[in-house]
């Protein structure tokens, strides 16, 4: 009897012909918003707008807007540099001027970008900040980062210290401490820098808008509970969180965007469609994952492709909670404007204790009916990474679902080894498949 030709040599799938991918409309809208903001920043020297640099976790955008300040986020700049493949040279530049190869690459990407002319993603120079709002939440490195920037810019620097939720709870002492800092130091300093008098009603107005957009964001993120998930809550989620984690929270733009996004996702949901990927619609959903940790930006597309090529969709992620844990119920509350800002800062993901993180991730695995937890461990970020191997073990134990561990970096391309990552991912996917009890279907490669 004759058998099928078994020799598979050189029958690898031909690379798909480059096709024009219809981007989802929400993404185009998001990109336009981000571009407009970068232009506002670049225009600042002409418009006379003052610039406040701050961080994504603990971003007090509503407050910043009360003083007519433009919000500039060095973290987001570093991400943009990563996506544009500039970060590698920025990191090297920072190391050249004396920064250790061991330390956070976000910081080095930012410092290297400054050293090389501070050119933003729009190809134009980013303005020097008029004030550094050191909203110190969930990461010690933030403090050093802004001390380093202060050394360079010699501009006023305002510390807002957020205590860590070491015992898994927010105490009245923490809230009082933060509200006091806001009242007695942060707000007066912002008034001095901006020349604008603080108006608490203006803050309330912004906070109300924040909450409205937050509702829609949560709806979108939780749509991933459905099968198939209409979104990828990690790779796609990164686009969704852009406006609300950045300079748009509290604006009408954000309300519009999240309403629009929600409608778009509702539509996909109604049609039973899966997520949109850079190569168009994803094929059938085969693996549902919860992902812990930031993504890699230097090889973002390649990284994402390793998932969607295998039908793996991320249904929940912790990274999309670094700028606020809205899905756990928090909303900005105009009724208690300063307290709500404090609570917001206290609740961001990286300010949560390890037991809280384990709890949250385990809950995600269960509520989103995931096949397991994948940790992308980032060389750069000790706040995320230190302890992740225990998190993995604990979530595995609690959920009974297999977990896996890969290692990359946010913006340092030296820490992204495609073969290494793919090796582990494929092993993980095949392990899930095998554990389901069925042999891997052989014919799906044609899909």
């Amino acid at each position: 009897m004759t058998t099928k030709p078994a020799r598979p040599v050189a029958t690898a799938r031909p690379a798909p012909a480059p096709k024009v991918v219809e981007k989802d409309a929400s993404m185009l809208k998001q990109k336009a918003m981000m571009a407009a903001h970068y232009d506002r920043l670049s225009d600042a020297p002409e418009t006379g707008a003052k610039v406040c640099s701050t961080f994504v976790p603990g971003n007090l955008n509503e407050l910043v807007m009360c003083f007519d300040l433009l919000n500039n986020l060095p973290e987001v700049n570093a991400i943009q540099s990563g996506l544009r493949r500039q970060s590698g040279s920025y990191v090297l530049e920072a190391e050249k001027i004396g920064h250790s190869e061991d330390v956070c690459t976000y910081v080095k990407s930012d410092l290297g970008m400054m050293a090389k002319g501070n050119i933003g993603p729009n190809g134009r120079r980013l303005p020097d900040p008029d004030v550094l709002l050191l909203s110190y939440t969930g990461c010690f490195t933030f403090m050093k980062w802004f001390e380093l920037l202060r050394e360079q810019y010699k501009c006023p620097t305002i510390m807002l210290h957020t205590p860590y939720m070491g015992d898994g709870k927010i105490t009245p002492n923490m809230i009082q401490y933060m509200v006091k800092q806001l009242k007695e130091e942060v707000i007066p300093a912002l008034e001095r820098v901006s020349g604008v008098k603080f108006d608490i009603d203006r803050l309330r107005e912004y906070l109300k808008k924040s909450a409205e957009a937050e509702d829609d964001l949560v709806w979108v993120l939780q749509s991933a509970r459905k099968r198939p998930s209409p979104i990828d809550a990690y790779f796609g989620g990164i686009y969704y969180i852009g406006p609300i984690f950045g300079a748009f929270r509290g604006t009408d733009d954000a309300i519009d965007y999240y309403r629009f996004l929600r409608e778009e996702i509702a539509d996909r949901l109604a049609k039973g469609e899966g997520p949109v990927t850079p190569d168009g619609d994803m094929g059938s959903e085969r693996y549902r994952l919860v992902v812990e940790g930031p993504p890699n930006y230097t090889n973002f597309r390649q990284f994402w492709k390793m998932f969607y090529d295998e039908g793996a969709v991320v249904v929940a992620s912790s990274y999309t909670k670094v700028g606020g844990t809205y899905d756990l119920g928090f909303r900005h509350d105009p009724a208690k404007p300063l307290e709500t800002l404090a609570e917001y800062c206290l609740g961001v993901y990286t300010n949560r204790s390890l037991p809280m993180r384990v709890e949250m991730l385990s809950k995600y695995v269960e509520e989103y009916e995931a096949d397991g937890l994948l940790i992308n461990s980032i060389k750069s970020c000790n706040s995320f990474s230190a302890g992740q191997l225990l998190i993995m073990r604990e979530v595995e134990r609690r959920t009974g679902k297999p977990a896996a561990f890969i290692e990359t970096d946010l913006v340092d391309p030296r820490y992204f080894s495609a073969a290494n990552v793919k090796n582990r991912l494929d092993s993980y996917f095949q392990m899930i498949e095998q554990k389901r009890g069925g042999a891997r279907p052989v014919k799906e490669a044609a899909a």
């Binding site: 078994a6 297999p402 392990m431 095998q434 042999a439 490669a445």
Partner: protein, 448 residues
């Protein structure tokens, strides 16, 4: 008959395993990976098919002769066959070398080089039988290793005597060897076996007495077609494996399954290879439950021992025995390959004994492996240790000690052929895939 092939493409060697329909191992083959995975795959599976023939010979001969006779006979046949194959590749090398004699630099020396080549290959052929004589030790079975050093040694003398520039003779060799290596022996295998048998019989070897009666079984075995029903490839280089997606399985899964097939009670597998270290937990069916690998830093893998051997000017295989001489291993805290050399020199300069340092290095590697095991979920009974480092007695000694200290009494399995673990698992995946394949296809046909 149907056969199922597993290929494990490693960074240094490529392994192939051939299974029959019942899941029994028919043959195994290994070759150096070169820079060409396609060729390495072809050569390794060819080697596995050759090995499979010997299995089939044995099956045919069984009952007809005494077991010890069969061993002796097959041993002789294999030597004769290897010699045949070697001579064939030698002929290929000679032709290839001759074809290289062209161009400006050979303008005046071409004839001289040709004469030298003729003499060199005459000598190589003449000494070839001794290479495959009973009891002869070959440092390697790869053609390049066997032919290369002898070619260069003989050529130096011959060229000098002939007054031909040695570098020209080396040059033609260098240009030819890769081509020859990448051109696996192509001749008809059965014919080669027959020639080998003839050579044996003509040589009147010990088995000659009953020679005639073996020809029947041998011919019957040669008459069996080995169909390659399905193939699965694995290996760290999988991203560039020369197979399509449905023919690829993760090395972790292959390794876990392979270890399970060798030792069905395996629950934990440790593999220390050249580039990475893996800790794998498998369930009673050989399904992977958890795995961990060393991170992007390759410290503490087999390659580290390679650096140390180079640094000490020793052979890789001498390290283990030297470490065994130590009863007081030095405490080495870094398994960083970048610092290995410096740390070594520093310690030697401080007067520490070589064997203690080397023993300390072995312990350091095993400590790292213990951490990876701990990360993957610890060590459960039974524990199977595979990979190149599993052949190193000093590493094994430390591992036994540490496993005992940390996990108590655990059965530790080490198979001398553990290098084939991944390929074995891959072959089993191939067997299962082929078994499960028909159904979905037919089903799909029915539905549509």
């Amino acid at each position: 008959m149907k056969t199922f092939v597993g290929i494990d493409l490693g960074s240094t060697t490529t392994k192939a395993v051939l299974l029959d329909e019942g899941g029994a191992v028919l043959g195994r083959g290994i070759t150096n990976s070169r820079s060409n995975y396609g060729t390495a795959t072809r050569v390794a599976s060819e080697e596995a098919r050759i090995d499979a023939r010997f299995t089939l010979f044995r099956r045919e001969l069984q009952g007809a002769r005494e077991a010890s006779d069969i061993d002796e006979f097959l041993g002789a046949l294999e030597r004769a066959f290897r010699l045949e194959q070697f001579l064939e590749q030698l002929a290929d090398l000679e032709q290839t070398c001759l074809a290289q004699i062209q161009g400006e630099r050979f303008e005046t020396a071409a004839d001289g080089v040709r004469e030298v080549l003729a003499e060199v290959f005459r000598q190589l052929r003449a000494e070839a039988p001794a290479l495959f004589a009973p009891g002869a030790k070959r440092k390697s079975d790869f053609f390049r290793d066997l032919a290369g050093s002898r070619y260069l040694a003989i050529a130096e003398d011959v060229a000098r005597a002939a007054g031909v520039p040695y570098n020209l003779v080396v040059n033609v060799y260098d240009k030819s060897i890769i081509a020859v290596e990448n051109r696996p022996p192509s001749g008809n295998l059965s014919e080669k076996f027959r020639r080998a048998l003839d050579r044996m019989l003509a040589g009147g070897s010990a088995s000659g007495a009953g020679a005639r009666e073996v020809q029947g079984p041998i011919e019957r075995a040669l008459g069996i077609d080995l169909d390659e029903t399905w193939l699965v490839g694995t290996g760290y280089g999988r991203v560039t494996l020369p197979f399509s997606k449905e023919h690829i399985r993760s090395e972790i899964l292959c390794h876990g399954l392979g270890a399970h097939m060798m030792y069905p009670n395996t629950r934990t597998v440790l593999d220390i290879g050249g580039q990475d270290t893996k800790g794998i937990q498998v369930d009673p069916r050989g399904i992977v439950e958890n795995f961990q690998m060393n991170d992007r830093c390759a410290a503490g893998c087999g390659r580290y021992l390679g650096y140390i051997a180079d640094e000490m000017n020793m052979g890789l295989h001498e390290l283990g025995p030297m470490a065994m001489q130590s009863d007081k291993p030095a405490r080495i805290n870094s398994t960083c390959t970048v610092f290995a050399g410096a740390e070594l020199r520093d310690r030697l300069a401080l007067g520490e004994k070589r064997e203690d340092i080397i023993a300390g290095l072995h312990r350091a590697i095993v400590l790292r492996a213990m951490s990876i095991l701990s990360r993957s979920g610890g060590v459960s009974d039974e524990f199977t240790f595979t990979g190149g480092v599993a052949k190193n007695e000093a590493a094994v000694r430390e591992l036994r000690k540490l496993v005992q200290e940390n996990y108590g009494e655990v059965t530790i399995n080490i198979d001398p052929d553990s290098i084939y673990t991944g390929a074995l698992g891959a072959a089993e995946f191939a067997r299962r895939a082929a078994a499960g394949e028909a159904a979905p296809t037919e089903l799909a046909g029915d539905v549509s």
